[in-house]
């Protein structure tokens, strides 16, 4: 698989004692959608800032497209939006995009197409300063897509938007992802990452806690929610089953966590043989949110 970005042992220390990025390594391969998860201040933006040439690294290496070109040349093939949309307020949407074309050294032919993609054609001659936050963010996406980039980097793209705005941005991201563009999405919104990403990187205090596929992160064995007329007996019986890790009571239900695979039908038959009849049986997968909270707990 073609590597787009590789980061090895990256470190960033602000003011000699704030260790914002701590020994982060990762590889971005073509065609995947990556999510970087982490609470606020976990080093997501700093990591992106370093590879985007706006923050200086303290140590470690990173290379774009196998390291064949200099960072600023590589960035011409990258589309990136960082935190908030930055444009010249006195220029119109179109003029701003044309300026980006000049910087990326491409002609203006894509300007109209990208404005149409984000639904800003009718506002192309309005000044940027007159735009709402949602429109500004969409213009930023249009700008990032101008050169049909190999990879699109989005840092908190839905921050501060209203529900419609969030929905529009997500639709655009999904559309772009479906066209095979590699995407790197930093966010603290878990459902956002779960909905669009195939791979995930969990950061906390600058350290990587998890790196792999989203499925891999949520694909532990899951748990059962059970209820019967006699929950006490149910609990004792369940604890004796070899596939069970632990059994807990919660809100009148018995939650059964597994350590090895167990089908709902097998569990049902097992309890039936023990003369226990269930009122309620649901098998649930651990959500990304649960996993994330589990990972970042007590660290």
């Amino acid at each position: 698989m073609e590597t787009i970005l590789s980061i090895t042992n990256l470190n960033k220390i602000y003011n000699k004692y704030v260790h914002a990025v701590n020994n982060v390594s990762l590889e971005i391969h073509k065609g995947n959608v990556y999510g970087i998860l982490g609470p606020n201040g976990s080093g997501k933006s700093t990591t992106l800032g370093i590879v985007l040439n706006v923050v200086n690294k303290t140590s470690g290496e990173y290379s774009w497209f196998g390291g064949a070109v200099e960072t600023h040349e590589a960035l011409k093939k990258v589309g990136a939006i960082i935190e908030r949309p930055n444009f010249y307020p006195y220029m119109t949407a179109k003029q701003n995009l044309e300026l980006v074309c000049k910087i990326k050294n491409i002609d203006y032919s894509k300007v109209q197409e990208k404005l149409a993609l984000v639904g800003l054609v009718e506002r192309e001659d309005s000044k940027f300063s007159t735009f709402s936050l949602g429109m500004k963010q969409r213009l930023a996406i249009a700008s990032a897509l101008l050169n049909d980039p190999e990879i699109l980097i989005l840092d908190e793209p839905t921050n501060g938007l209203d529900p419609q705005g969030i929905h529009q941005i997500r639709d655009i991201i999904r559309l772009i992802a479906s066209q095979g563009t590699t995407i790197l999405l930093a966010s603290h919104l878990l459902d956002e990452v779960e909905k669009v990403c195939s791979h995930v990187l969990v950061l906390q205090k600058g350290k990587i806690l998890y790196s792999g596929t989203v499925d891999g992160m949520t694909a532990n064995e899951g748990y059962f929610e059970l209820q019967s007329d006699d929950n006490e007996t149910l609990k004792t019986v369940m604890s004796s089953h070899p596939a069970i890790e632990k059994v807990v009571f919660e809100e009148g239900k018995v939650l059964v966590y597994l350590k090895s695979p167990l089908e709902a039908s097998a569990l049902n038959r097992f309890l039936f043989e023990k003369n226990i009849f269930l009122n309620h049986l649901v098998k649930r997968k651990t959500s990304l949110e649960d996993q994330f909270l589990e990972l970042t707990k007590n660290k």
Partner: protein, 279 residues
Amino acid sequence: MKRLLSIELQKIWLSKSSRILTISYFFLLSFIALIASIKFNIGSFQLHIAEQGIFNFPYIWHFNTYIAAILKFFLAIVIVSMMSNEYSYGTLKQNLIDGMSKQEFVLSKFLTVVVFAFASTIFVFIMSLILGYSFSSYTEFSIVFSDLEYLLAYFIKLVGFFSLCLFLGILVKKSAFAIGFLFVWNILESIVKGILSFKVFPEGKSAENILQFFPLESMSNLIVEPFSRLSVVKNIQTAIGGAGNGKDYDVHLTSLLIVLAWTVIFMLMSYKLLKKRDL
């Protein structure tokens, strides 16, 4: 290079305030011609400035470049704000993310500075030529095109001064503070100048020798004030009983080199600063 310039000029030209300031700068430059119409009435004696030889070739090169250089503050505001705005809009960050290198960024600003200085020089050249041919007592080719080093000095002076503005814009990040800083710098240089010439080295030329290396002082040394060179003023001086002031009005190579050196220093420091900073 053309790409960098077109990026920068778009940024300046589309901004209304920068555009208005730039236009009024060139508009005001052309007002030097108005000096031609100044007339004094001292009792029955009428003094017509244009007839006192200020528009005589080659003196006009000296006079006009000196006057024109005073107006450089208008462009200084444009240049300081074109730099500090990049910080306040966050567009410096965005430009770098879009694939501009920090070197290109500084270079594009510097090229704009050179273009502004060059345009001013051409403007002053043409205007002086027209004024000169209208009022000068001498219009022989060899006289008209002598002393053109004042134009070179003017050009270098502007490039040096604008580079300083650019550096302050990057250093301070806010246009109002950067311009304030420029004034503070100016005052500090004057204070040091005063201390050096009246307290530390009251005699001899040591103070002057040290002062010529100060950035603003070196820029003002490029073109010495032209007024005391005017024949009217000289006549008055002799009438009062002074024996001429023996002042040296020429453009010196050393002052050109000092200002060029400062230009290089300011641009390198701007680049280093940009490189070191986390945005």
